[in-house]
Subunit: 221 residues, 4 copies
């Protein structure tokens, strides 16, 4: 009995030790990623050193390389994280939308919310991503953040066309890309000239909707 208890307690101890280590490990990665995000945003890819990230994260230099094989790998993790965050937000928002108006407005507003809550993050992720592509032409052609989103818009447009809501003569892929680009204006221009959020959003939403909407309703008159 005692033996079993001892054995068990030992096991418990080991487990808790392991658990604590795992927790610590996970924490370190989190802190590194948070620091990386901050610095990549503030200084850009080339002016951020692994050392800086480590110091800001409060860990040793070498620890960085326990979690990322590379400076590049760290950046890609940052990009992936950002992409996943925005993607999740938009997905949630769009799920509740029924009309294209709502979709466009929702996507724009969600992006803008994210941009305002995380100033510069989307811009940094986007800009750095372009660099990566050039530097490593034969490396795994990291699927661009934008490509997936543009494809999403293309699908929305195609559905709109089938329903007669969107001009039939559009090429969904091209226009999908155009819509994406307009929505991306929020990540660059949001805070310029103190343009107010509402004003900004309304203008862009109208712009897109008017460009898309087929003159069906207006024809029958």
């Amino acid at each position: 009995m005692l033996i079993r208890m001892a054995t068990k307690s030992k096991t418990v101890l080991e487990e808790s030790t392991l658990a604590r280590q795992h927790k610590r490990k996970a924490e370190s990665r989190q802190r590194l990623l948070a620091a990386a995000r901050q610095l990549f945003v503030e200084r850009g890819y080339h002016d951020t050193r692994p050392q800086d990230i480590s110091r800001l994260a409060g860990v040793g230099h070498g620890t960085f390389y326990l979690y990322f094989s590379d400076k590049k790998a760290c950046f890609q993790a940052f990009v992936a994280l950002t992409q996943a965050e925005v993607d999740a937000l938009i997905r949630v928002r769009l799920a509740a939308c029924k009309t294209n108006e709502e979709r466009v407005y929702g996507a724009l507003e969600t992006s803008m919310d994210y941009v305002q809550a995380n100033p510069g993050v989307l811009k940094a992720a986007w800009a750095g991503h372009q660099l990566m592509a050039r530097e490593d032409p034969q490396g795994a052609p990291t699927p661009s953040i934008s490509d997936e989103w543009a494809a999403g818009w293309a699908k929305v447009i195609l559905n709109g066309q089938k329903a007669g809501m969107i001009w039939q003569d559009y090429d969904p892929e091209i226009i999908g890309y155009a819509v994406l680009v307009v929505t991306s204006v929020v990540s660059y221009g949001a805070l310029r000239k103190g343009a107010e959020r509402e004003h900004f959003l309304t203008n862009l939403t109208k712009f897109i909707l008017r460009a898309l909407r087929a003159p069906k309703a207006s024809t029958p008159s």
Copy 2:
């Protein structure tokens, strides 16, 4: 006699030397800029070294610093050159336009022509420009290429509004930026999927015009 000859020949020599030097000086700068453009486009800002530019230009390493105080200065010269080129082309084209349709289509076509004639140049100038801005936050806030163009579109839009051709509820600055961004799609997406030039151009032109054009209902009064 000997003196006069010497004097004269010296003067002549100096003149021709100076002339040649000026010519040579201008030539060297040209060649450096041409080399810089090629390399900045092919490799991007960070992966292009002054030494590479000099070698490609066929001049000594040190010569680079006779014409540019800095690597950064060289890049800015490249950006300014590119901007001036495109600007001139568009200006010429738009001068002959009478309707907004023509203006939009003309601007898009001119940009696309430039992009196809100089693949990657606009993209490189744009991308690198963003880097500069971050790296030197207090330095002369280099006027963005895009800002001027966006302002141009804003003016076009304002005029259109006065003439009742464009929705009155648009903020010219914001929509000017949106139009610019859509036109910039040509510099990124032009060659994707072998989309044919005509197809691409038509789609984007329609997109912009439909977004801008006010319904006839609003014209009367």
Copy 3:
């Protein structure tokens, strides 16, 4: 009762634990040494990290330092082990030899057997040993593997001289070293050009014996 049981079981537990611990301790050291040998041979001293050794041995990184104070200490343990192995084999073989012919042939064959059974081990031990010597000039002047073996040959030669079998004008130490070096050829050149073992061995044996054996003319008197 409970106490006694507890006490007894505790004692039992301790004993078995201790026993197991000892066994485990010995096992861990063995496994580390085996892993170290493999890696030192495959990659050489500088390209083998304690972490690699630990992983290959299937123990934690820190465990390495429970058994070796140092990476260097681990290497020296490996060298000592290798030396001991070969030494034991040769000692056994020579014990049964009566003539110098047998001794030379036996030593060569034993070395070659070892080299073929453990490819690269002797070479690695030898090469690494040289490094150690240079890196730690004031440290305990690790007795060279070769020095002891050379001394062994010197003794053999001296005996041969006394018996009139070996040239009297040889300096046993120098020639001992020469013999050793020739025998060491097997560890470098054994597998070159697929030279057959027999051929190789015969050549080297003849070479050494002819160099050593005194002419019969000098025997009488």
Copy 4:
């Protein structure tokens, strides 16, 4: 006339400038190689840093990489230099030899002279060379110093066999290697125990000659 003089003097100036630069360039390489030799010998390959070499040579850190693409490349240059030096010395010496006795003795003496004049150099070149081989298994299989020399001995032996001076039952390649290894003893053991040069040389020469010489002359008696 004056013009031509001016032109000419300019040309002369340019030439002398180029010449001086070339000279300076050559000098830097020389100094770097000399420093590299000293440090590789004193500390071995792994404990010598490019920085150390540069500092000892009296040039900047980066200058090192103007002359050697790599630390490894620098070491290989050192090895090649050493090999060339010894090779030239031996070649000169052997050219004047008529008998094998002279050849063996000459080669040994030359090597020993070199070793005494440049203590440790041969040893360092040899030892480091072995490391290189392991570290870069697929790299250009740098022809070993020893392989060429062994081949040289093999040729000597073959000729000796044709002339009936050397045992017919030897495989020239194997025995060539054995002879080389014995001669290499001088680079390792020369200064051990203060063995006197003459004594050492004589012993090794006898050893080799007795191993090689066929008992022709002694048969007819």
